[in-house]
C-alpha cells in the first residue's frame, strides 16, 4: 500500500448532500456474480472502489424504489472491537403513500436477504450486499399515516449491511431481465 497526499477533493466545489430519489433493490439470491475487491490495491484510489458489476441470474433483474426528496440517506458507521473493525451501511428511505404495492414490498422484504444500490447527489453509487453477506431490513422509521394533516403517510425503512471495506460501486445496474449466455 502506497499512501498519498489527500487535498480538497471536490470537483468544481460540488458537494451536495443527500441521495437520489430512487434506490435499486433485488433479491440477494438472484445475483449471479458480484463485483470483486481490487487486486493489488497499491493506491488509495484502488482501495476505495470495487471492480466489475453485479449480474443477475437468468430471468431476474434489479428494481427501482422511489423515495421522497431529502428523506433518504446513507449512514456509514464503524463497528467491531479493536482488531476487528468493519463498517455498517444504514440506508434510510421513505416511500410516500400507503399503496398496497408498498405494503407488499415491506411484507416481502422484512425477513429477506437483499441487495440494494443507492446513488448520492454527486452521482456516486454504493452497493449494499456482496457474495458472502446480504443487506437486511432492519427497522421502520416514521411509517404510518402521520398524526396531523400537515404530516405525511408512507413507509420509512432502514436497511443494514455489514462489510469489511467501503467501496464506490462503479458497475452497472440491470433493470432488464438477464438471459442465458449463448
Amino acid at each position: 500500500m502506497d499512501f498519498a497526499d489527500i487535498g480538497k477533493l471536490l470537483t468544481d466545489g460540488k458537494n451536495l448532500g443527500g441521495l437520489a430519489q430512487r434506490i435499486y433493490f433485488g433479491l440477494w439470491s438472484d445475483v449471479a456474480t458480484w463485483p470483486v475487491d481490487a487486486e493489488l490495491p497499491l493506491t488509495l484510489d484502488a482501495l476505495g472502489s470495487s471492480t466489475g458489476s453485479i449480474a443477475m441470474k437468468p430471468g431476474k433483474r434489479m428494481f427501482e424504489l422511489y423515495t421522497t426528496e431529502d428523506a433518504a440517506k446513507l449512514d456509514i458507521n464503524v463497528i467491531g472491537e479493536e482488531g476487528g473493525k468493519g463498517y455498517e451501511f444504514l440506508l434510510h428511505v421513505f416511500a410516500p403513500g400507503l399503496n398496497k404495492k408498498l405494503l407488499g414490498f415491506m411484507n416481502a422484504t422484512k425477513n429477506e436477504d437483499l441487495v440494494l444500490i443507492a446513488q448520492d447527489s454527486a452521482g456516486q453509487f454504493y452497493l449494499l450486499g456482496c457474495e458472502i453477506r446480504s443487506a437486511k431490513f432492519q427497522a421502520s422509521d416514521g411509517s404510518g399515516t402521520g398524526s396531523t394533516t400537515d404530516g405525511r403517510r408512507g413507509l420509512g425503512m432502514t436497511f443494514a449491511y455489514r462489510t469489511h471495506s467501503l467501496y464506490e460501486y462503479t458497475g452497472t445496474i440491470p433493470l432488464t431481465e438477464a438471459v442465458p449466455e449463448p
Binding site: 435499486y24 433483474r61 452521482g123 458497475g171 452497472t172 445496474i173 431481465e177 438477464a178 449463448p182
Partner: protein, 87 residues
C-alpha cells in the same frame, strides 16, 4: 445506420440499464447514438458485443495486427488522399 447494426446486447433482454456516468439507458431504443454505445463497449460494458459490421467498421486494423503482427500498419491502412494542387 443504427447502433444495433454495429453492436448487440448480450446477457440481458433489451431494456433499461443504469450506467454510472451516463444515467439510465434504454437499450430497446435503437436511436441511441452509435458513438455512445461504442464508448461503453470500449470501456468494458458487460452487456455489449460488436457485430461483424461493428468489428469491420471500428476494429478491423487492430484485429489484423493482433493476428498478424508482421503487418505494416501504414501499408494496411488506406492511403490518405492528397489534395490536388491547383495549377
Amino acid at each position: 445506420m443504427i447502433w444495433t447494426d454495429y453492436f448487440t446486447l448480450v446477457g440481458v433482454l433489451p431494456g433499461r440499464i443504469v450506467v454510472p456516468g451516463h444515467g439510465t439507458l434504454d437499450f430497446s431504443d435503437t436511436s441511441l447514438p452509435v458513438e455512445k454505445i461504442r464508448t461503453l463497449f470500449e470501456k468494458g460494458f458487460p452487456y455489449l458485443e460488436a457485430t461483424s459490421l461493428g468489428k469491420d467498421t471500428f476494429y478491423l486494423v487492430p484485429r489484423m495486427v493482433a493476428v498478424r503482427p508482421e503487418i505494416n500498419l501504414e501499408l494496411a491502412l488506406p492511403a490518405k488522399k492528397q489534395p490536388r494542387k491547383k495549377s
